[in-house]
């Protein structure tokens, strides 16, 4: 009689352990999937979020010395590719480069996305970013240029 009771109790304990282990497995799975959860965008702050994204992207490129190289060597295709890599896929961009006199420098469009999105979207962010020049061994002069980048979510 005593032996039967012991067996019965052990079984019950094991089930509790199983349930706890199962809970841990599920909680772990949920925590893991939560890492990949995409936070939603806010309509209210969409423009400032895009501005921040644009500033950060241009700053990253500039810090690596690539932005000045692309702009002053007129490497427009490389600039387009770099922006496409750095910006999220659903963010469309349109870049125009001016000198201080207001003359457009890029003769080819630096563009990605759907033109319609720029015309129809209510949330178009526009950022201006200054560059001072691109020094080389042969030339190191102050020739500022202004990048105007427009961003919209597609």
């Amino acid at each position: 009689m005593e032996r039967i009771n012991i067996t019965k109790n052990t079984r019950g304990q094991m089930r509790i352990v199983e349930v706890i282990l199962a809970s841990f497995v599920i909680i772990f799975a949920l925590s893991f999937t939560n890492i990949f959860a995409i936070t939603p965008t806010s309509q209210k702050y969409e423009v400032t979020e895009l501005q921040k994204l644009g500033y950060n992207t241009l700053h990253d490129l500039d810090e690596q010395g690539l932005l000045a190289r692309f702009v002053y060597n007129h490497e427009w295709e490389n600039l387009t590719s770099a922006l496409r890599v750095l910006l999220p896929l659903d963010v469309y961009f349109n870049v125009t480069i001016y000198d201080l006199q207001g003359t457009k420098v890029n003769n080819v469009p630096i563009f990605y996305g759907d033109r319609e999105a720029f015309a129809t979207s209510k949330n178009v962010a526009s950022i201006s970013y200054g560059l001072v020049g691109y020094p080389t061994r042969l030339s190191a002069t102050y020739t500022p240029q202004i990048l105007i980048i427009q961003l919209v979510r597609g």
Binding site: I4, K8, G12, R15, I16, V19, S23, I26, I27, L30, N34, A37, T39, P40, S42, Y45, T48, Q51, K52, Y55, N56, L58, H59, D62, E63, G65, A68, L100, S128, Y129, G130, L131, V132, G133, P135, T136, R137, L138, S139, A140, T141, Y142, P144, I146
Partner: protein
């Protein structure tokens, strides 16, 4: 006995059901948080603006030093001229931000690694020595009225130091190149060096426990002393070193 066993099973089912219920509620709460989570930090956009102005100010100092070291005769006011223009152009580049940048050029003697550098209008060079350098030093104060930022200070120090380690051995000469923080420049090639009266054939770098990186410059013909080595770093800043020092 049978009754007891039956009842016990029921308890486990209840415990399991309770746990599942807790989990379902937790999942619900977790998913709700994930879907509705939004954290807006408006100060971040201003940080990026400050970062951009700071980065471009640093690049302007480097550009001015490159211009100064490559021109002959040297124009000591180039840095101040460029900074004055940059100060004015900031308004056009960042419209509506009301950004104002003030600057103070170093105009005194600084001691760096036992070398006294006498700055003139923020620029200095000590050339034709075994350890030569080109340097610039400016302290900026940034005000952005649109966000109520005043007195944000940052100092830009740019320094390139070239040292000839020993007398040339045949057609080979060893040098080190370091930056303002004492760290070596790692990616220099033969295009960055010039040796007077000798064609540079190749430049290779090796690890050294004292200097970290030593560049070995191999020339087409044997080098005799005195020897002059010129360096242009990746930003175009020039330094000229001589062995023995003149």
């Amino acid at each position: 006995m049978k009754m007891i066993r039956h009842n016990n099973k029921g308890q486990f089912v209840i415990i399991a059901a309770l746990l599942i219920a807790i989990m379902i509620i937790s999942i619900g709460a977790l998913m709700h948080t994930a879907v509705t989570y939004y954290k807006h930090e408006p100060w971040e956009e201003y940080l990026t603006l400050i970062g951009n102005i700071e980065l471009n100010s640093r690049q302007l100092v480097e550009l001015s030093l490159a211009n100064y070291t490559n021109s002959n005769p040297k124009n000591p006011s180039i840095l101040e001229d460029n900074l004055r223009k940059w100060q004015t152009n900031l308004t056009a580049i960042y419209p509506g931000r009301e950004a104002y940048l003030n600057y103070t050029l170093a105009n005194q003697a600084y001691n760096v690694d036992g070398i006294t550098i006498n700055y003139e209008s923020g620029l200095a060079y000590i050339w034709e020595k075994q350890t030569s350098l080109s340097a610039a030093n400016v302290t900026f104060t940034l005000n952005i009225a649109s966000i109520g930022l005043t007195g944000y200070k940052f100092t830009v120090t740019t320094l390139v130091k070239l040292k000839i380690l020993s007398p040339p051995a045949g057609d080979v000469i060893n040098v080190t190149v370091t930056l303002e923080d004492g760290m070596p420049i790692t990616d220099l090639t033969k295009d960055n060096f010039q040796v007077d009266n000798a064609d540079v054939v190749s430049v290779s770098s090796t690890y050294d426990p004292t200097y970290q990186i030593v560049y070995t410059i191999r020339c087409a013909n044997p080098i005799s002393t005195p020897v002059t080595v010129k360096l242009w770093d990746l930003r175009g800043i020039q330094v000229t070193a001589k062995y023995p020092s003149s």
